[in-house]
């Protein structure tokens, strides 16, 4: 029998970050996978980032995580998105060589002496007195640990569908984890079937790329990680094409063969990443849908047709693909498929992502009903961070929506919950002007440093960055520019004007200051008024959150609280006024009654009431 501080089940994007966050604190951590060679596999599209998702990657990196660094090293195309829009929604998307990405994640993990890779399938979670004690594998062996993080992705009782063909497995060529589901259910978690899908992979040499519009990356590569490592890989282009009336016709004629429509698949799929048959059915008036052909790597001749996720039979897939310009004689490396899998109700988790039923048992990633690599990784890191604190008897970090998208995601999951695969959007945050890519390092700094997650080098980088920022601000404030014979203004004043940038004002700044520092300060100056408003909101939220509600509070003893509110509060057990105010059915009057009962008069009625609007 082996014994660890923590055991992470599943080596996907969530498991990787969880294991790293634990190992970085010197905790003996086991990373248990079905197949060790698949650690860090990009099971679906060959890209990291995208709008809102890239914000997560920057936040993960700011906490010392793996994802950004691996993506930088595997980058074969990098693009900035939404550049014509405001600063909060600008984002980064990086195409990766899948093999290099996966290999890099393993290499980065291997650096940690306290991390141990194990292979095997869990059959049971072992608990003692409602606390996690370890796992039993299907071969009967037991691994002991005080903390378990379940990040098994789409593998729980997973079934893959290609047309009428049905096969157990969580990913093409892989097995499913069948026994763990019932073990989780026995612990008190309700399970729900969800569905996801992926398109066919195409043989590159059978595609007529010359007919298609190219899409190149930006000449200047944006990097996720503060380490600023270049992949030194050749940069590739993607190609654009479209479905057409013929494609839709083929798909429509074969609706009856799709397990999605036949009722074979019961699970709810990701609304924002629908299969192509779903798109054709739901948007029947659309004449075409855009398809991106994305290489999966430099050496693998595999093309990922983004936008064509499907579970139609292989022959139908081939038939509709061949109606598409450039794919007239395409051949498949493997067909697209749908996966149906078990997920848990994330509202059965606390804000640390620890189970409300089993102390020491954490859940992260797709198992919590999210979709996307980045969403999974962010949860993995958060769970790992909190699990580390749990093991070291430190207080859990309070989940702060106004600090990061990572925490917005976690907060949404555990407080609101979801019935379909959750995808992050910038619009999920009420503080999105404050939660930008360019200031992720500053936002996460104290969390990273305070949680012992950062290497000394990263800590140095942060203090250098801080120094640069204040020096640049001082320079901007003191440097005077003469506009005409009467008017002299500071450089910052000038920068405020829409037509100006650091570059137009002072060309040689980039020699002294890093691009990130220049960018974030420019944004802060230009959007100062807007940012200020959200900062005021944030302070208000903090004040409300400071109003703690004691554990095991007897709400029925609060005079003036309606029976309905007593019932809701008793059921949901809000820990502070912010959580309480977001419960459906709770009124400002109810909170005021609670507030006066608790004798905390520090927050005004206005503040409480405003938190409702």
């Amino acid at each position: 029998m082996r014994s660890f501080d923590a055991i992470v089940v599943g080596g996907g994007h969530a498991g990787i970050e969880a294991a790293r966050a634990l190992a970085a604190r010197g905790l003996q951590t086991a990373l248990l996978t079905l197949d060790q060679s698949k650690v860090g596999a990009m099971s679906c599209n060959p890209a990291i980032g995208g709008v809102a998702k890239s914000h997560l990657v920057f936040e993960i990196d700011a906490l010392g995580g793996i994802m950004g660094r691996a993506a930088d090293r595997a980058a074969i195309q990098s693009r900035r998105l939404n550049l014509s829009r405001g600063p909060a929604v600008r984002a980064t998307r990086v195409q990766c060589d899948k093999e290099i990405y996966s290999k890099t994640t393993s290499e980065l993990l291997e650096n940690f002496g306290t991390l141990c890779f194990l292979q095997g399938e869990v059959s049971d979670v072992i608990t003692k007195n409602h606390s996690f004690a370890g796992v039993r594998l299907v071969d009967g062996s037991v691994i002991e640990a005080r903390v378990g993080i379940l990040s098994s992705g789409t593998f729980l009782r997973a079934t893959m569908f290609v047309g009428a063909d049905k096969k157990e497995g969580g990913r093409f060529g892989d097995r499913a984890a069948n026994s763990l589901s019932s073990s989780i259910e026995r612990l008190g978690h309700t399970l729900k079937r969800l569905k996801t899908g992926t398109p066919a992979r195409l043989k590159a040499e059978t595609i007529r790329f010359s007919q298609l519009e190219q899409q190149w990356g930006d000449p200047e590569k944006r990097r996720f990680s503060w380490r600023n490592e270049d992949s030194k890989l050749p940069q590739i282009c993607c190609y654009m094409t479209h479905t057409n009336a013929k494609t839709h016709e083929v798909i429509r004629a074969n609706f009856d063969k799709s397990p999605l429509f036949s009722g074979e698949i019961q699970g709810v799929g990701p609304r924002y990443c629908p299969s192509v048959e779903d798109k054709v059915r739901r948007f029947s008036q659309r004449e075409k849908h855009q398809i991106f052909l994305e290489p999966e790597g430099l050496n693998v001749r595999s093309i990922y047709p983004n936008g064509l996720s499907t579970s139609l039979p292989s022959d139908v897939q081939l038939e509709f693909l061949r109606t598409i310009r450039g794919l007239e004689s395409v051949e498949l490396l493997r067909p697209g498929y749908a996966v149906e899998y078990d997920s848990i109700d994330p509202t059965s988790l606390s804000q640390s992502l620890m189970s409300k039923h089993v102390e020491g048992l954490f859940f992260a990633g797709q198992i919590n009903r999210t979709s996307g690599y980045e969403e999974a990784a962010a949860q993995g890191l958060w769970a790992g961070l909190q699990a580390g604190k749990f093991l070291l008897n430190e207080a859990f970090e309070v989940c702060d929506r106004s600090r990061s998208f990572m925490e917005t995601l976690v907060d949404d999951l555990v407080n609101v919950g979801t019935d379909e695969p959750y995808r992050l959007f910038t619009s999920r945050s009420e503080f999105r002007l404050l939660l930008r890519e360019d200031n992720a390092a500053e936002r996460m700094a104290s969390l990273g440093l305070g949680s012992g997650l950062l290497s000394p080098e990263q800590a140095n980088y942060l203090s250098e960055r801080k120094r640069q920022r204040s020096s640049l601000r001082e320079f901007g404030e003191t440097e005077r520019v003469r506009l005409d014979k009467d008017r002299v203004v500071s450089l910052l004043e000038l920068l405020r004007r829409p037509e100006n940038t650091w570059e137009t004002l002072s060309a040689d700044l980039s020699e002294t200051y890093s691009d990130e520092v220049l960018e974030s300060l420019e944004v802060e100056i230009k959007y100062e008024g807007y940012l200020h408003k959200q900062e005021v909101d944030r302070e208000q939220l903090r004040a409300i959150r400071e109003l703690r509600i004691p554990d095991n509070m007897d709400f029925s003893s609060v005079p003036g609280l309606s029976n309905e509110i007593v019932e809701i509060m008793t059921k949901k057990g809000p820990r502070n006024f912010d959580e309480a105010s977001r419960l459906v059915g709770v009124t400002p009057a109810g909170l005021l009654a609670l507030n006066s009962f608790l004798g905390k008069a520090s927050v005004s009625r206005e503040t409480i009431e405003r938190s409702f609007s």
């Binding site: 829009r85 003036g560 009057a589 609007s613």
Partner: protein, 467 residues
């Protein structure tokens, strides 16, 4: 005035209380007092000695605690929720005698009922879903208004053909705003995959434009309407000893104002209601003459006149004919600005007095045989200004009825305007979502949704007592 003192939240905290209030003015042969709340049945039994309270009419003696009867009123009983407040309601139609009222008041207090706060009956009616906030406000506006036309009062009472549309209109605007917001957010969050973004944003732009003009016409409709809530006011201003009070008396046809040839005779304002052309009613106000005050009291009078003039619908400026005067009338800059402002609005009437020549706008106020003609002349002029300023419109279509609603519509309009500028590229697009959300919050607040209880209480505390 309790309304200023009472905390807005009291309305909610007092909900378990049983309240009572006089529903009619006191003085006629019958007065009506209403009781509403959980203790209504108990109170009824205590007053009448009858055990059962079922909806209907009773005619019984009411007694004090010692069993001594003090009136025999008509009693209308309503069982909640089938009552106007949604609670048990007792309506007592008693003899309009002070001692009976005092007795009732005393007994009700003794039996544990509380005098109602301003608007508290309406408040309960709204919280129990018997009436919407918007309907209650319209009612309140109607009660407070003295200048309503038949059509306008129908509108405010919810009897106009379009009245019920308020929540529909607001809901429709809200749902379209949500749609626009969703499109904008999608264009931001799915920028990689949406090709028709510019088309999407263009459609957002035209939709926002349309909503903005919808809200704009609701606001301007209200502006016109608000002018009709109250009687138009004609304020007579001018230098002292011009004959303002004389003219006032002539118009009224009585000697209400004290008249003398002493400058500064009128120290405070005097007002009266009168009917001008076509039977339209106006309020006419005579004010102290404009001059360097000779006493503190006169100065106060002049200041009051000035503030009345600022609020006037029509300014009637009367001065002596230049020919009569040794030195011409000199106005200070504030007075000039005032006249200029009313002239700009087309609401200024200028007259001269004591001319012996029969020229237009020039009256000899000393000859009673001319009074009829003077009255006709001034009434016609006032009538014309009113017609111009208050075009006859769709009076029954009162959509908004309070300054609160108007301020929220303004807020919504600002949010939409900001969103438009973001969609057009002059602000970061991601702000458009917040701008629209702001507008939606304001529109919901009009209907009392998504706002704190304190806020609702605040609205009702501005209502008059007894409603």
């Amino acid at each position: 005035m309790r309304s200023r003192e009472s905390s807005a939240r009291e309305y909610f905290l007092r909900q378990p209380e049983t309240i009572f209030g006089l529903a009619t003015a006191f003085g006629g042969p019958v007065a009506i007092l209403r009781v509403s709340g959980a203790k209504t049945k108990v109170i009824y039994s205590a007053l009448t000695g009858s055990a059962s309270f079922s909806a209907g009419i009773a005619y019984e003696a009411i007694c004090d605690g010692n069993g001594v009867a003090f009136d025999r009123p008509l009693l209308l009983k309503f069982e909640g929720p089938k009552s106007f407040t949604g609670e048990d309601v007792l309506e007592i139609q008693f003899h309009g005698i002070r001692s009976v009222y005092d007795g009732l008041h005393r007994e009700l207090l003794r039996l544990g009922a509380q005098p109602a706060l301003p608007g508290e009956f309406l408040f309960r009616s709204v919280t129990h879903g018997k009436m919407t906030l918007v309907e209650a406000e319209a009612l309140n506006s109607a009660f407070g208004a003295d200048g309503l036309s038949d059509g306008a009062s129908r509108g405010l009472l919810g009897l106009g053909p379009n009245q019920k549309q308020m929540s529909e209109v607001l809901d429709r605007i809200c749902s379209e705003l949500t749609l626009v917001r969703a499109r904008i957010e999608a264009s931001v969050d799915f920028s990689e995959f949406t090709e028709d973004q510019s088309r999407d944003l263009e459609s957002c732009e035209s939709l926002l434009d349309e909503l903005s003009s919808n809200i704009g016409s609701m606001i301007s409709g209200y502006e016109t309407m608000r002018g009709r809530f109250f009687l138009p006011t004609v304020v007579i201003v001018g230098p002292p000893n011009a004959g303002k009070s004389t003219l006032f008396n002539i118009l009224l046809g009585t000697d209400k104002a004290l008249v003398s040839n002493q400058p500064g005779t009128t120290r405070d304002f005097i007002e009266a209601e009168l009917r001008v052309a076509d039977g339209r009613r106006v309020r006419i106000i005579d004010t102290a003459g404009w001059r360097e005050a000779e006493s503190f009291v006169e100065g106060m009078g002049i200041e009051r006149g000035m503030s009345l003039a600022l609020e006037a619908s029509i300014l009637l400026f009367l001065r002596q004919s230049e020919k009569q005067l040794a030195k011409p009338t000199v106005l200070d800059s504030r007075q000039q600005r005032l006249l200029e402002e009313f002239r700009r609005r087309g609401s200024l009437l200028v007259y001269e007095s004591f001319s012996s020549e029969p020229i237009a706008n020039c009256f000899d106020l000393s000859r009673p045989e001319l009074f009829h003609e003077i009255r006709k002349n001034v009434f016609d002029a006032i009538g014309k200004v009113i017609d111009r300023a208050r075009p006859v419109g769709d009076e029954e279509r009162v959509l908004i009825s309070s300054e609160r609603q108007r301020a929220l519509l303004d807020e919504a309009a600002r949010g939409i305007k900001d969103a438009l500028s973001a969609v057009r590229g002059s602000r970061p697009i991601e702000l458009a979502g917040e701008d629209i959300a702001r507008a939606e919050v304001a529109l919901r607040a009009i209907q009392g949704r998504g706002v704190g209880e304190e806020y609702i209480g605040q609205i009702f505390s501005t209502f008059c007592l007894g409603k």
